[in-house]
Each structure stands twice: as structure tokens, then as C-alpha cells.
């Protein structure tokens, strides 16, 4: 038992050891290249997608005589690909987003405030929290089914109207805003609250005069990201009948309307060759708006983000 193990010191310069180290370093380099490759595949796919869309769609903005095709920018849906325009769908998207923002933002912010600042931890608030977290992960098409069953079949709101689309998307966007809002409120340090309480502010005043203004950039960032998601959403709107052929831009919240992503979907189903160009052009318009919204969100985050 007491026999000591005979071991020679490692011979780092021996041929076997050198070979072994070489092999290990080669494996290291291979692994590193593999990682770089994975990133490049993702980036390459994105680039390929954007280039394809640009290549196909840039012609959609150009009229036959080589100038800008104003009809495409100011017209609505039509049966002839040369006549179609994006304005009708764009206006529909705009009206839908107004409804979504008007509902989801106040409700989202108020519930974030309640959950983060006032709610006592009990079974009731646990239930609210669990349902908000689950709603954020429910597939969007389920919200479409909800909209169909409740807004159309029970409440008899008009089909394919921005009002119903906006309501449905608001239910979908609200959890995103709540989660972003709670994180933003959480990051405001307690000393701010204590100071305000110390000089005699009421609990409501503390939140509405001090905490919310400081949390606003974070809340806005989350809201813009949620709205960008809603702007690109198609499936729930198909469920509530927003796939009708609408040849005039909507004039109000209860007019039949189309929205940009649904218009893209409808045009992509057309067999006529000219629609490929128009579909890609519509995709470019949509992507420009989404990128702009995400850009604003990132800018806001970088400009106003504050480390306490």
C-alpha cells in the first residue's frame, strides 16, 4: 500500500507530447472556425435574403418610362400587377397600429406599474404574472382565433376592419410592453423612491412624478419593439378576415382594409409574373419601416440608458 508510484516528470519536448499538443491546438482552431462559420451562415442568409428582395423588388418602384412609379406608392390593390399600389395597405397598417398603440401602451404600462410597484405577492398577482408570461409565448395565430370567436362572432364588430385587427394585435403586444415596462421600472433605483417618499410624496405621486419618467426610455424601447412585431404580423389578421380584396384605401377604423404583411401574402399567391416584382417591392417597404423602428429603439436605448 505504501509503495510510491514511480513517475517521471512530463517530457514536454518529446515527440509524442509535441504531436499531442499540435493535435489539440488544431482541434482548437477547427472549433473556432466552426463557430465563425455558424455566424457567417446566419449573416450570409440574411444578406442573401435582403439582396434577393432588393434585386426582385427594385423594379417595382420604377415605372415603364424609367422614373419613380408613383402609382405604386399612391394606389391600392388591383387585379393587374401594373396597376397595384401600396398606399391602401399602408394606410390600413397605420390605422391598425394606431388602435394597437392606443390600447396596448396605456394598459401595458399601467399593469407594469401595478405589478412592479404596488402588488403584494400573493396567489392573485402570481396568476396575473403567469398569464402575462404565457401570453407572451402563445402562438400569434391563437390570438387570431380569439379575435374571430370574440370580436367577430360574439361582439359582431365589422369584419376585416382596422378596429378588429388593432384590438387583436393589442392583446398580442400588451404582454411584450408589460415585460419591458417591468424591467425598466425595476432598474430605477429604490433611493429615488425613498427620497420622494421622504419629502412627503404619496405613493401614487412617487410613481407618476418620479419613477415613470425615469423608466420611460426603457418602456418606449420595449413598446417600439412590440409595435414592430405587430406591424409584421400576418397570421392573426388572416383569421379575422383581413384578406379580402380591398381596392380603396380605408377611410376609418371600421372600413374594410388590408395591411402591409397581408397584402404581401395576397400578392405572393398571384400567379401573374408581374406580382413577383410588386411583392418584393412591398416587402422592401415593410422592411424599411421595421428597420427604422428597430433603429429608433436601439438609438433610444443607447442614448437614454442610464447606469445607476
Amino acid at each position: 500500500m505504501n509503495k510510491s508510484v514511480e513517475r517521471t516528470p512530463t517530457d514536454w519536448n518529446g515527440a509524442a507530447m509535441r504531436r499531442r499538443i499540435r493535435r489539440r491546438y488544431a482541434a482548437e482552431r477547427r472549433f473556432r472556425l466552426l463557430g465563425l462559420g455558424a455566424i457567417l451562415v446566419s449573416a450570409g442568409f440574411l444578406a442573401f435574403l435582403l439582396v434577393t428582395m432588393l434585386g426582385n423588388g427594385i423594379g417595382g418602384f420604377v415605372s415603364e418610362d424609367g422614373g419613380i412609379d408613383w402609382n405604386f406608392l399612391t394606389g391600392s390593390d388591383a387585379t393587374d400587377p401594373a396597376e397595384v399600389g401600396i398606399w391602401g395597405a399602408f394606410k390600413g397598417s397605420l390605422l391598425t397600429m394606431i388602435v394597437t398603440l392606443a390600447l396596448a401602451f396605456p394598459i401595458g404600462v399601467l399593469s407594469a406599474v401595478y405589478l412592479e410597484e404596488y402588488a403584494r405577492r400573493n396567489r392573485w398577482t402570481d396568476m396575473i404574472e403567469v398569464s402575462i408570461n404565457n401570453l407572451a409565448a402563445v402562438p400569434s395565430i391563437i390570438f387570431g382565433l380569439l379575435g374571430l370567436a370574440v370580436f367577430l362572432n360574439v361582439m359582431h364588430l365589422p369584419r376585416s376592419a382596422p378596429l378588429v385587427g388593432g384590438l387583436t394585435l393589442a392583446l398580442m403586444t400588451m404582454p411584450v410592453i408589460v415585460i419591458a415596462g417591468r424591467n425598466a421600472i425595476k432598474s430605477v433605483p429604490p433611493s429615488i423612491r425613498d427620497a420622494a417618499l421622504g419629502v412627503g410624496a404619496s405613493r401614487i405621486q412617487v410613481v407618476f412624478h418620479h419613477v415613470l419618467p425615469l423608466a420611460l426610455p426603457g418602456i418606449l424601447t420595449g413598446t417600439i419593439i412590440g409595435m414592430a412585431r405587430a406591424l409584421g404580423e400576418t397570421a392573426p389578421l388572416l383569421m379575422i378576415g383581413m384578406r379580402a380584396f380591398v381596392a380603396t384605401p380605408p377611410d376609418g377604423f371600421d372600413d374594410p382594409a388590408s395591411v402591409l404583411p397581408v397584402q404581401i401574402f395576397l400578392w405572393s399567391d398571384e400567379v401573374s409574373r408581374g406580382f413577383v416584382e410588386k411583392t418584393s417591392a412591398a416587402i422592401i417597404v415593410l422592411l424599411v419601416f421595421l428597420l427604422a423602428m428597430n433603429g429608433i429603439a436601439i438609438y433610444l436605448r443607447n442614448k437614454f440608458e442610464r447606469r445607476w
Binding site: T52, P139, M174, F265
Partner: protein
């Protein structure tokens, strides 16, 4: 006067009430006078809220009642006696008359609509006037009562704040109501479906052809609702093909970005992955159908396999790319959560970086990664537009990725678009599929969150 206009009027009155209440409070507040309990603006809010809220509550109740009252009034009028008895046509005439009366349209298809339009107009006008009058009365009464209570000792702040708290609670209940609404509406419609179709057949049948015949004596009049091919197609595209693409790429991206990349590369690549997550799914779907699917078909044909244009592979590949950012950001989080000491320990023992990643970081982060993958699967199987545009409609039970399969979400869209009768099993089947989808994604999310949470606790 429309309800919206009345509501605007009430808001105007509330603004005036705010100013009045504040002015009255200002008169007794200020230096050298009695110490008031609340600030003038808080008194103003108290009066304004009493002006607006009861009146708006009345208005919302009135808006749901007045439609029926107008309808009953029009039907009771002598002009309505000549209406057709048949329900659909009667409804159409009334709707046209309403459109004429409110100026939404100029022409009417049914001649009777013209005679009914003035009746409608009178009724709308009459009930509109009643609504306006009562709403204004309530607004003035509420405002006056609140105004009379404004005094130095009145605790306006406490009352206003109690109301604000109620409002906050109400807002947070909307989420619960939405969840409840989803569960109830899906459950209710599914139960109606299962009263027509045996649930066992739905869950375990392997034959899916939801076409209902127009005439009952037609051949194959009862559609078949065995959903197994749909479930298989969903799992095949969303959980197998997409994950084969997304897990290695997402995991390797996360590892590279956290362990190898220079801060500058990281600062560029992370937003790029976020852009990949922000591209709308309809764009991915169009790309899959336009570019990827023909390429996959050509690949299949060059390999000598009969390939469909709507192959499962094309939809799955693009869906996998879409999922990469989710997998990568979840893996990123869980690798970052592994204590630095474990990494340092491994490196100090002489392991290379890749050996540390293989033997220490990934095993330690595995629960978090698995949780992320489960979340990604739940997102993939609920994804709609890619499969609607790139996957097929044929309910095949096949494991050949070049063949066409259909998914739950594709079928929901297919069943609910086009002409709808709300009581046919065809339409109701969409809700049953929706219920299954909801329950499966819910279960996946709960399991995933639990795995992630447990793993976080292990290192805290």
C-alpha cells in the same frame, strides 16, 4: 349625434370641471390661508373624474342597448309591415336602410330600404337625443356634487388615488381576462366540434380530409378528421428539420460570440442576429416559396428523389434559420450564467478554450440550453406564415423530407378562410386544432421555464 361625439363632449366638460374645481380650491389654498388637505389640482381631478366617469359608464351601457331599441322601434313602425318575412332578406333590407339613414351609402339594392330609411333616421335621431340628454344630465349632476364637496378639509387626494389604484388593478386584470378568453373560446368551440366528431378519432385517426359535401347524399359526405398526419407534419417541420438547422448553428453562434469574438465583432454580430429575429415571418415565407423551395426541388431531382415544390425540407430549413436567434440568445444567457470560476479552473488545468467549452461550459449550461431549445420548438410549431406559404396542404404521413406534409397552423388558416358557416365541423375543427396547439405550446413553455429556473438556482 354619434356616441363618439357625445364622449368628446363629456371629455370637454371634464376639462372644464377640472378647471372649476381647481379654481375653487385655489381660492381657499395659498399662503396665509387655511391649510388644505389636498393640492388644488387634486381637487380639480376629483371633480373632473366625477363628471366624466359616471357619464361614460352610462354611455357605454347605452351604446349596447340603444341599437336594439332602434331596431325594435323600426320594426314596430307601420312602414315595416311590408318587410319580407324571410330572415336573411329582412336583415339585408334593414342593413341597407341603416346605411342610407346614416349616410354611409347613397344607393340601395332593395326598394324597401328607401321607405324604411326615414323611419330609421327618426329612430336613430330620437334615441341619440335621449342618450345625449341623459349623459349630459349625469355629467352635470356628478360634477356639481363633487364641486360642492371641495373644501379645505376634504380629502380629494385620497379619493383620486384610490381610483387610480383601481385603474391599475383593472389594467393588470386584462391579461388574465385575455388568457381566460383564449381558453374559453377555444374550449367552447372545440366542445361543439367534439359533439359532432369523436375526440378519439380526432386525436388518433390517420385520415384527414375536412371537405364537407354540399348535399348529404353525395359520396364521402362526412369529412374525415383524423389529425395525426397534421401533428406529424408539425413535428417533422418544426421540431425535427428546423431544430437540426437551428440548434447547431444557434449554439455555435452563441459560443463563438461569447468565447471567441472580439468586442467589436460582437457589437456588430449581435444586432445582426436580432435583425434576423425581427424579419416578419411573411417575408421568410415568401423567400421560402420563391427561392428555397425550387432549389430544394432541384436538389431532390438531381439526387434522383421525386421531390415536391412544397417540400417539408424547404419550410423546415427557413424556419430553422428564423429560430437561430432564439436558440442563440438563450444559449448566450445560460453560458454567461456559468460561474467564471469554473471556466478559470478548467483553463488553469491546461485545457484549451475549446476543451473548456466542450467539457465544462456546455455541460454546465446544458439545462439552460435545453430550456431554450424547448422554447424554440414551441415557437416553431406555432409559426404560421412560413408553413402556409411554403408547406403543402396534402396530409401525408411520411418521413421523406422532399415530400410535402401539412401542419396544424396551415390547416387552421385553410379551414377558416374562404366561405364560412360557423356551425360546420370544418370550421369548428380549426378551433379544436387551435386548442391542441395552445395546450402543447403552453406545456412546452411551462416545462422550459421550470428547467431554466431550476438551473439558475443551482448556480446562485
Amino acid at each position: 349625434m354619434s356616441l363618439a361625439a357625445i364622449a368628446m363632449l363629456i371629455f370637454g366638460l371634464a376639462a372644464a370641471a377640472w378647471a372649476a374645481g381647481r379654481a375653487r380650491a385655489c381660492a381657499f389654498a395659498g399662503p396665509g390661508k387655511a391649510r388644505a388637505h389636498s393640492l388644488p389640482a387634486q381637487h380639480g381631478w376629483y371633480v373632473a373624474l366625477w363628471t366624466a366617469i359616471p357619464a361614460l359608464l352610462f354611455l357605454s351601457a347605452w351604446s349596447s342597448v340603444s341599437g336594439n331599441l332602434i331596431y325594435a322601434d323600426v320594426l314596430a313602425s307601420p312602414e315595416a309591415a311590408s318587410l319580407p318575412g324571410f330572415d336573411m332578406q329582412r336583415h339585408a333590407v334593414l342593413r341597407e336602410a341603416y346605411a342610407l339613414a346614416t349616410g354611409q351609402s347613397e344607393t340601395a339594392f332593395h326598394p324597401q330600404a328607401r321607405t324604411l330609411a326615414p323611419v330609421y333616421e327618426r329612430a336613430v335621431d330620437y334615441y341619440g337625443r335621449i342618450g345625449l340628454l341623459v349623459a349630459l344630465l349625469i355629467a352635470f349632476a356628478g360634477g356639481a356634487w363633487a364641486f360642492s364637496r371641495v373644501s379645505p378639509h376634504f380629502r380629494a387626494r385620497t379619493r383620486v388615488e384610490r381610483l387610480v389604484m383601481g385603474l391599475l388593478l383593472l389594467a393588470s386584470l386584462i391579461a388574465v381576462l385575455t388568457t381566460l378568453g383564449i381558453v374559453l373560446s377555444l374550449l367552447f368551440e372545440s366542445l361543439r366540434f367534439f359533439s359532432m366528431v369523436n375526440p378519439i378519432e380526432f386525436l388518433f385517426g390517420i385520415n384527414w380530409s375536412p371537405q364537407m359535401a354540399i348535399r348529404p347524399d353525395q359520396a364521402g359526405s362526412s369529412g374525415a378528421f383524423g389529425a395525426v398526419p397534421l401533428f406529424w407534419g408539425t413535428v417533422f417541420i418544426g421540431a425535427i428539420i428546423a431544430m437540426i438547422v437551428a440548434i447547431p448553428l444557434g449554439l455555435m453562434s452563441a459560443i463563438y460570440l461569447t468565447q471567441y469574438a472580439s468586442p467589436r465583432l460582437r457589437a456588430w454580430m449581435k444586432p445582426l442576429l436580432e435583425v434576423l429575429a425581427g424579419v416578419p415571418t411573411v417575408v421568410y415565407g415568401y423567400f421560402a416559396a420563391l427561392t428555397v423551395a425550387p432549389a430544394v426541388r432541384d436538389l431532390g431531382l438531381s439526387l434522383g428523389i421525386p421531390a415536391s415544390t412544397e417540400s417539408a425540407l424547404a419550410a423546415g430549413l427557413v424556419m430553422g434559420i428564423m429560430i437561430i436567434p432564439f436558440v442563440s440568445s438563450m444559449a448566450d444567457d445560460s453560458i454567461a450564467a456559468v460561474p467564471q470560476a469554473m471556466r478559470d479552473g478548467s483553463l488553469a488545468m491546461g485545457a484549451t478554450t475549446s476543451e473548456t467549452i466542450h467539457k465544462v461550459l456546455v455541460p454546465a449550461a446544458l439545462p439552460g440550453v435545453v430550456g431554450g431549445v424547448l422554447l424554440a420548438v414551441s415557437r416553431a410549431i406555432g409559426e404560421t406564415m412560413i408553413v402556409v406559404m411554403a408547406a403543402g396542404l396534402a396530409a401525408n404521413l411520411t418521413a421523406n423530407p422532399f415530400d410535402s406534409v401539412t401542419t396544424v397552423t396551415t390547416q387552421i388558416v385553410q379551414l377558416l378562410t374562404g366561405d364560412q358557416e360557423f356551425d360546420s365541423p370544418k370550421t369548428l375543427a380549426a378551433f379544436a386544432l387551435g386548442l391542441v396547439l395552445f395546450l402543447v405550446t403552453l406545456a412546452l413553455n411551462i416545462v422550459a421555464l421550470r428547467v431554466v429556473k431550476k438551473y439558475r438556482e443551482a448556480y446562485e
